[in-house]
Symmetry: C2
Subunit: 137 residues, 2 copies
DNA sequence: CCTATCTTTGCAACAAAGTTGCGTTTAGAT
DNA sequence: ATCTAAACGCAACTTTGTTGCAAAGATAGG
């Protein structure tokens, strides 16, 4: 996995800041909140982090998930998402114990029947519960 | 529908502010954002509105939904939700044209198979698309 | 109907989350 | 090595939500 190539392919310049962000995001199958990343990169400017994440989302390197508490998290896209409006077609799981947010890439969004006249364009499923490691403990 | 009774039954005092909030929330099948309600009740203090909504949620008169953009909305519960942690077991629909958020009371949350070890406690489905009136137009 | 008490309200101040503008630095193409 | 557009850091600002406290209001009891 050469992140430099991925970044450059999306038309963004490769910088140390961007590389370190994408590296952290690639660890585990998790989505990270801005606050968490801010702690990890304690020397990086808050604004720079916001811009890196938003740029990454814009070009389709990461996707954004907002949980029921309104906390925004970012996760690396697996296959390159189509630019801009990418429908991350998988379910997200938020553990109530460790509070990690997982991308369940293999669990796809369900089919849902809507009332007459309603037309679905995009779906987002968020599941709360116990993740595999917290459940075992 | 006597809202006064509902409010008093939940152990809250009946005040003009609370009555007007619950009346607006009962219009249509929609969820209202704080910002929208603030415009409607332009004389009411911002903090009071926050407290009314939070109190209503706490006692189970309304439920809270956060959309993919992180906007928090409040909707009246149909059957009285169980106090505190009420799982509003219905799907929410956000129209991309009129930006209204609808509670599709008759569309229940789907069943989803999780990977081994994961245990679902609560589910939240959010659908984006065209609502019946915007779709017709 | 009046009073006492506990709740609710309004105000001010604060905290967290996110955005914008601008001057400086840096990536990378020539 | 030079040049230019992109990225960064800083300061300031907006939006969203919370907390403490004094004043006003709801309702149960006399």
């Amino acid at each position: 996995m050469d992140f430099s190539v991925q970044i450059r392919e999306k038309g963004l310049k490769v910088t140390p800041a961007r590389l370190s962000v994408i590296e952290v995001l690639s660890e585990g199958n998790q989505a990270f909140a801005h606050a968490e990343l801010e702690k990890i990169f304690d020397t990086m400017d808050r604004v720079t982090l916001y811009r890196i994440l938003n740029d990454f989302e814009y070009v389709g390197l990461v996707h954004k998930i907002v949980d029921a508490e309104g906390i925004t998290r970012f996760a690396l896209c697996k296959k390159s998402c189509p630019d801009k409006h990418h429908t991350d077609d998988h379910v997200h799981f938020n553990c109530q114990i460790c509070h990690k947010m997982f991308c369940l890439d293999k669990v796809h969004e369900p089919q849902i029947n809507l009332p007459n006249g309603f037309k679905a364009e995009r779906l987002q499923t968020l599941i709360y519960g116990l993740c595999n490691s917290c459940n075992a403990a």
